[in-house]
Symmetry: C2
């Protein structure tokens, strides 16, 4: 193995000079820097990660705890992972993966000095991991918005604002009765706060604008989507606009409307709140509000890095603002 001493000898300098030339932590004459770099190149030197971690108390590794329970949408999980890994590399960090299933994983990573910081995905309203994470002393970022963050940093999509934005868009088009095809009941029961926040935004927005609002929590199955659509159509004041916050059900909802001979957007306007690629893979261009999972992951990494730089910076929660992309699934309400 090529060590820093080999490089120093080869370049005719001290080991510390090599270290500093590589880290840039003190000024080095251009000449020696070049000699060092050449030596590194010629010998194919790579710093030993363990040695570096031992000496510097920095691992350049981030711990990521993934949910692998049934019922989570793996496409979204992968988007988070992509955003996290990509952004971490930009900060010269790697990502160590652990699963929710392993009980002592957080302690192992933090106390064993395997990672500089932790990112927890899929945080619920009352999450038993939080108290333990807060006790670790490692910078920890939560993806999600628990009832009590216990002093930890949070990042998430602003689901309430997304719902309000969707409602306002439809209201502006003249719709006065709006249906929401919501997430599965199981998601709500599980205590995932994004569902609550979305519902709060939906009801709050509708009330403020004087609209009639109906909600159908919808299992992510074809039959579930069908039933939800039918339930909404059976109402006295049948909604002329639909908000779909359920990526699994979206295709079935569209199908189901077509089956009933309901035209989009002539008879019903439709706004989806889902990852952009889901909306864009529909046969008709859907008006949608993107759930930017990859960006959320990237922001989580940035927050972790900021915390490592300035450990006593104020703790904050960041909520990513929604944007609506217009497709051909929304139109002004036809006055009857």
């Amino acid at each position: 193995m090529v060590t820093i001493e080999d490089v120093a000898r080869h370049a005719g300098v001290a080991t510390s000079t090599v270290s500093y030339a590589l880290s840039g932590k003190r000024s080095i004459s251009e000449q020696t820097r070049q000699r060092v770099e050449r030596a590194v190149e010629e010998l194919g030197y790579r710093p030993h990660a363990g040695a570096r971690a031992l000496a510097s108390a920095r691992t350049n590794t981030l711990g990521l705890m993934l949910p692998l329970r049934p019922g989570v949408d793996v496409r979204v999980v992968m988007e988070f992972v992509t955003g996290i890994v990509t952004r971490a590399r930009a900060f010269d960090h790697d990502v160590l993966l652990v699963t929710q299933a392993e009980d002592a994983a957080l302690e192992r990573l933090a106390h064993g000095r395997m990672v500089d910081a932790l990112i927890l995905m899929d945080v619920e309203a009352a999450d038993s991991r939080l108290a333990r994470a807060a006790a670790l002393g490692s910078p920890t970022i939560l993806i999600g918005l628990p009832d009590d963050p216990q002093g930890l940093q949070c990042v998430d999509f602003d689901f309430a604002a997304a719902a309000r934005l969707a409602v306002r868009h439809l209201s502006d088009l003249g719709h006065t009765s709006i249906g929401l095809i919501g997430p599965p009941p199981s998601v709500v029961e599980r205590g995932t706060t994004f569902a609550e926040r979305l519902l709060a935004g939906f009801h709050g927005g509708a009330e403020r604008l004087g609209l009639t609002a109906h909600v159908e929590l919808t299992p992510p199955t074809h039959a579930g989507a069908l039933a939800a659509v039918e339930a909404l159509r059976r109402l006295d004041e049948t909604p002329t606009a639909l908000i779909v916050h359920n990526e699994a059900a979206l295709p079935s909802v569209v199908d189901s409307l077509q089956m009933h001979g309901v035209r989009i957007p002539a008879d019903v306007s439709l706004v989806a709140i889902c990852p952009a690629d889901v909306a864009q893979s529909q046969s008709q261009p859907i008006t949608f509000i993107d759930i930017p999972a990859e960006s959320i992951g990237a922001v989580a990494v940035e927050m972790a890095m900021a915390r490592l730089d300035r450990p006593d910076a104020p703790v904050e929660t960041r909520l990513l603002r929604p944007t609506l992309s217009e497709g051909s699934s929304t139109a002004p309400r036809l006055t009857p």
Copy 2:
């Protein structure tokens, strides 16, 4: 931070005794072992991963290179990841994630002594990573079966055997004309060898049994599935049995047959080759051959571990054998 010296002092023994008591690498009297364990417990000691890696040349970490390119089925990717992480933990190893997108990732992990072994997912027929991986000197396991494994270990599902098994099952039921709804053309073009192997098994099996065989490479879209089904039904000798190896298209194929008034299995028998959960989420219980992604991941880890134990053990390729689970989508052919 609690160090091994703290533990030694607390237990009244030498640091080496603590180390050995914990690793079991030399015999320790029952009494001192207990004293050490108590001290570990009381102080909450966790070995420093970097220090351990530096001293022992072992990181207890596995590197996993994931494909994040568009077009890979993320559900299957997540199944691999689950199998790998879970099995790695059983061997007291963690998993470090890198993406295909980063060019020098393999060298970084291996030469920087960040991992003990590497697992490469989604290996293609002619994969540029292989030569570089072979040059690393780290144990490397390939998931997939390239044309030239360059001396590296491989593990994959036996797609050829799966196709033969499906063909034989249908032949045994009296079917003489079989259609294959295959993977997207893009997958075949990309040089993913599983598609080739499946096609070879399909044609070989059909020929040996004297059956008529037709293939439709099928984009993973509703329209693609529809077109494929219609193409097969337009043939002179319309197939009375279908093999679907395209998890994205499976639901659409089933829908499309229903739309045409084709009953399963009365008019057409259907065998799917796909992950079990995809088959089981259909409304009708489909006869299927599972693609056991999680098991493949677990086996990859086992191969890596075996190699670390015995670095000069013979290199092998492991192909997981298919099993067919009967549902209600296959039935004897009605003799006209």
